[in-house]
Amino acid sequence: MTDTAENTGEHKPVGAGWDFSLMMTTVALMGAIGMQSLVGTLYSWWAHRAIPNWEQTGYPGFVHVMNLIAGPIMIALIVVMGLCVPKRLFSRRTLMYVSTGMLLLGVGTGVVTQSVMTGLTVYLVVSALIQVAVVVLTLAGAGGLAYVSEVRLAKVGSGLLHLGFIVFALVIVALQSSSLMLPLSLVAGLLLTGGSAMSFYARSSSRAPVPDE
């Protein structure tokens, strides 16, 4: 791993601005999906009562519109999730190249194969490989990895948690009809839960709440 910040000796922590932008974008996208879900649920509730036989006549159209709205948001969420991965591993300058390369690879694959799903799959596979490297290096105690927490267990937990999200997205995007769907769903579940548990129970901030009144 010649490109890790430690080996190049040029490590500059990933900018707080970039980190914050990714976090805020994730929050905004999840908020958008959440709002869509809420509005969709309320509409279903209303239509179920107000429109006779809505389940037979109106439901397919409702699903179509909901999918149309959610599609771009979900794609954006996957892209942002992928961009969160290399920030642990690479210095600021290399990070820009790696992130751009990942995006170009995903878009290029999508254009060549004329399939958004294939482009996303390739993008997620690359993200998963980088995240596996992050987890392995974290477990090995390698220096130069950029984490907010200083606690090693929390770092490992964070790494596993992000890997779980990527595997989960991979299952939804590419493996729904595959025999790997079930085992990988379980792997994603264990990574998400195990990673969360490590993060929660290692984080020292959990012992420092100070309400201001």
């Binding site: 929050v27 999840m30 999906i33 959440g34 879900s37 809420l38 969709g40 649920t41 279903s44 509730w45 179920h48 809505w54 389940e55 439901y59 409702f62 699903v63 909901m66 999918n67 989960f168 299952v171 939804i172 729904q176 769907m181 079930l182 769903s185 379980l186 994603a188 579940g189 264990l190 998400l192 839960t193 969360s196 548990a197 929660f200 129970y201 984080r203 901030s205 959990s206 012992r207 420092a208 709440p209 100070v210 309400p211 201001d212 009144e213």
Partner: protein, 322 residues
Amino acid sequence: MPTPDTIVLSLESLRTTLSSLGPVLDAAILVACAAAMATVVIPAFKPYLKWTLGALLGVLSAGELVLIWFHVRLWQVCQVIDPSTGHATGGYAVPIWIESEKLYVWALMLAVIALTAKRHGDELRPMLTVGAVLLAVGSVFLGHPFTNPLPDFLAQYGQYLSAMRSADLNVAYQAFRSAESSRVYYYNAWYMWAHPPLLFFSYGAFVASFAATILMIRHRRSSYEQTAYRWARLGYLPLTLGMVVGLPWAIIAWSGEAWWWSGKVDMSLMMWVLYTAYLHSRIYLRRRGMWRVVAVLAILSFIALVLTYVTTYVVPGAHSVA
């Protein structure tokens, strides 16, 4: 070798036995609920809260043992028989937390949490006891787990038995395929034994977290916030695992359906997102005024939990009975 006729007789005997125990158990539960509420409401009785709560837990546990016995007997009695061979393909392993038994299991779980809560246990216990009592009373008057057990399952199985007893082999075969499908892919599916209990446990922990949040808002003490957080993170883990485990189930069982726009699924996702936001917002808890944001998120998360349950019954969709 069981036949539809012998199964009908065994099933009737089983239901009669459970129904005869039902009024006794219902009365015992209601008495225990009244005693527990008295120790919550009347200050002079407050020292006895743990005892009355223990009694409620004891009665609920006794009832649960009866229900477990009922389910084991159902598994032995309710066989699915292939009409073309006459051989039984297996029994129904009906989970102990569906239909009429859902509220009962929640009441039992909340009673366990109320009794075993250590941190701020004395302050949390009255609120959790009220929650357990409400669920137990709801179970007695709405669920009827003893006097009207598993109405949907038994109605469905009754239809299968009727078809098997008819002279028409085509009707019997169609009923067999339907019964075998529901046995294998629903009642006996491992998801059914993993997905709901994980979520139920998380809901129980979130109720405790909500109670501690109320205490925090009322008393403005950070230690209550700590307690709320501890319960919430404990609930978040089975919530996440339970939801992810539900994914393959949904993909397999609802193949071809837009299950992801079911109101229940959407509200569950919203609940997960809100609890995620709540747990992460605590990182910034030292900032001035941030505890208010945390409190609001905790309340919203719990409202989403309640709506998730309600949505099942009022909004149509794959994961719904509306």
